[in-house]
């Protein structure tokens, strides 16, 4: 018997009828879970290609009677998805630059350079982790207003550099980098800036990739905060969908679903392609909390 194959259950356990039934039931529950995960996504897709009358019939049918692909054209014309997607990407890229420059340099300094009061500075950053963001959401809004950042992407880019959790992740990554590498670079006359950009940064691509996934999923998902801070033409995709599609009163349900499908399918494919990296990254972040 191959030992590596066993889990909680062994091959012997599965010979008992009671366990066999339990195992079958468990497999069924998992199958039901998988179906319940796929069903709503499939429903959105099929509703998007139905005629509007058919979407609104009761009881609803799963598969469409006739396929109305022109719904996608109507949906595409209804909302300028490319504009909002562009805004989302702007926010993501700017946030990423802020993360690399502000947090990358700071955590490099905290981890690799020696200077007085370093510990104190570290706590200055870290303590902010204990303050739940919702508690200062209102003053944060007024603060951005006071600073004159309303309706600009700077209201996202600059605060992206104030993330103690990312700082913590980066610092612990830098702590684990090979020490002698930096020493020899310094002996060869490399400046600290060069040490960061030509040594630390390339070596830290895995952690920055992980952060990129977090930053992206934030930019991708956040809808409420942008709707407060930004005006219509600056909305990221999520906010635009919420405001103009989901909250729309006079929009046919089938067109609505066609638009939702257009927004839903690309990230699913991206996820399926990069699944391995994304899951690993999320695991890293999840454990550290």
């Amino acid at each position: 018997m191959k030992q590596a194959e066993r889990g909680i259950l062994s091959a012997y356990d599965l010979k008992k009828p009671a366990n066999k039934i339990a195992y079958a039931a468990m497999s069924l529950v998992i199958a039901a879970m998988v179906v319940s995960m796929l069903y709503p996504i499939a429903v959105a897709f099929f509703n998007g290609v139905k005629a509007n009358v058919e979407v609104n019939t009761f009881p609803p049918r799963f598969l469409p009677k006739e396929w109305h692909w022109e719904n996608y054209v109507t949906g595409w014309k209804y909302i300028d998805l490319t504009l909002y997607l562009r805004n989302t990407i702007y926010i993501f890229l700017g946030n990423m630059v802020a993360t690399v420059l502000v947090l990358g340099l700071a955590s490099f300094s905290l981890s690799r350079l020696n200077w007085p009061y370093r510990k104190a500075a570290y706590y200055f950053f870290l303590v902010t982790l204990f303050i739940p963001p919702t508690t200062y959401i209102i003053p944060n809004f007024i603060n951005l207003k006071d600073l004159g950042l309303m309706n600009t992407f700077w209201a996202f880019w600059l605060p992206a550099g104030a993330n103690a959790f990312f700082l913590l992740l980066l610092k612990s990554f830098f702590d684990g980098l090979n020490q002698e590498l930096f020493e020899s670079a310094r002996i060869d006359g490399a400046s600290e800036l060069r040490c960061f950009f030509q040594l630390a940064f390339p070596l830290s691509v895995p952690i920055f990739a992980t952060l990129a996934i977090f930053v992206f999923s934030n930019a991708w998902n956040e809808w409420f905060w942008p709707s407060m801070v930004l005006g219509g033409e600056h909305y990221p995709l999520s906010t635009a969908i919420k405001r103009f599609v989901i909250d729309a009163r006079r929009l046919d349900t089938n067109i609505r679903f066609a638009i939702l499908t257009m927004v839903m399918i690309p990230p699913i494919f991206v996820f399926l392609i990069f699944q391995r990296y994304i899951v690993r990254g999320l695991h890293l972040g999840g454990v550290k909390g």
Partner: protein, 308 residues
């Protein structure tokens, strides 16, 4: 930490005075943290302090702020809706535990036992997490519709229609079910990794000693993932006690304030009533309660980190 850091001191002879030398010696160290210090001050510490200050002021963007002492706090404590919001929040937190917390643990253990399709089940569970939440809000509004698919099934079974969204008894439960569906995947992946890393010979040994399947789960699997359970429990408590987005997006706190959580009330006080002073006071009070939880979480996550 200290021993891994390198001092970048130039040779002693190059240092001119003790004071200036110190600055030069540590110039890059300071230069690299300075942007972060400024950003943290401007976008974290400043709003946090402003929140405390504003909670004692009547905030007016046009006429300027006026000091009102404890008035905002008095308003908060006199407002019956605040208590309703606190109750709703506690109810929401509780529901998320009862309906949602055990789901990822159960599926992690079950999926770890799958011999085929393990990767597929894992991806499927995570799929909703990839789709933007607003899309899911739109989708679930339709699923929960009085003439939507859920009600079609209920009618067929002869149970009769349930107004998932507009019935005050059901609205919060419906939201929690939706959020559980949406979010259990990521917690499950964390548990799954922990379950799969348990040495298999522990089970072997337990089985030889006569422990049944349930006993193995109870005495080996669950204790082995207890750090993850504790950490994710606190994380969930912190997250759900601040929850307001799904309540806002799906029902705007209705019907009849049944899904008005405390955080949503803060948002509404500010952006609907335009009363930023009271909203700030609500925020400060929330901080006093949640700060304690955050400290507990930090303790736990440090311990979890040491163990793994």
């Amino acid at each position: 930490m200290n021993e891994t850091a390198v001092s970048v001191s130039p040779p002693k002879s190059a240092v001119k005075g003790p004071k200036r030398g110190r600055w030069r010696k540590h110039f890059w160290g300071y230069a690299f943290v300075l942007p972060a210090v400024i950003i943290f001050l401007l976008f974290l510490w400043l709003p946090i302090l402003k929140g405390i200050v504003y909670s004692f002021y009547h905030v007016d963007f046009v006429k300027g702020n006026t000091f009102v002492g404890m008035d905002n706090y008095e308003t908060v404590f006199r407002d019956p809706v605040v208590w309703k919001a606190v109750k709703n929040t506690l109810y929401y937190v509780l529901l998320c535990l009862v309906i949602g917390f055990w789901v990822p643990i159960l599926f992690a253990i079950a999926i770890s036992e799958l011999k085929k399709f393990q990767g597929f089940a894992r991806i499927a569970a995570y799929l909703p997490y990839v789709v933007p939440v607003v899309v899911l809000y739109g989708l679930w509004r339709w699923l929960y519709d009085p003439v939507g698919p859920f009600n079609a099934v209920l009618m067929k079974l002869g149970i009769g229609q349930i107004n998932f969204m507009t019935d005050t008894k059901w609205s919060m439960i419906s939201l929690v079910v939706m959020e559980t569906w949406q979010q259990f995947g990521s917690a499950m992946l964390i548990y799954l990794a922990a379950v799969l890393s348990i040495p298999k010979d522990w089970y072997e040994a337990a089985e030889i000693d006569g422990a049944g399947v349930w006993k193995r789960i109870r005495h080996i699997t669950l204790p082995s993932i207890r750090h993850q359970i504790a950490l994710l429990l606190v994380l969930q408590l912190i997250a759900t006690s601040q929850g307001y987005q799904s309540q806002l997006a799906m029902l705007d706190g209705g019907p009849n304030n049944a899904t008005l959580t405390y955080a949503l009330y803060i948002v509404k006080y500010a952006f609907n009533n335009l009363n930023y002073g009271v909203a700030s006071a609500l925020g400060v009070l929330m901080f006093l309660v949640l700060g304690v939880l955050a400290v507990v979480q930090h303790r736990l996550s440090n311990r979890g980190g040491d163990a793994s």
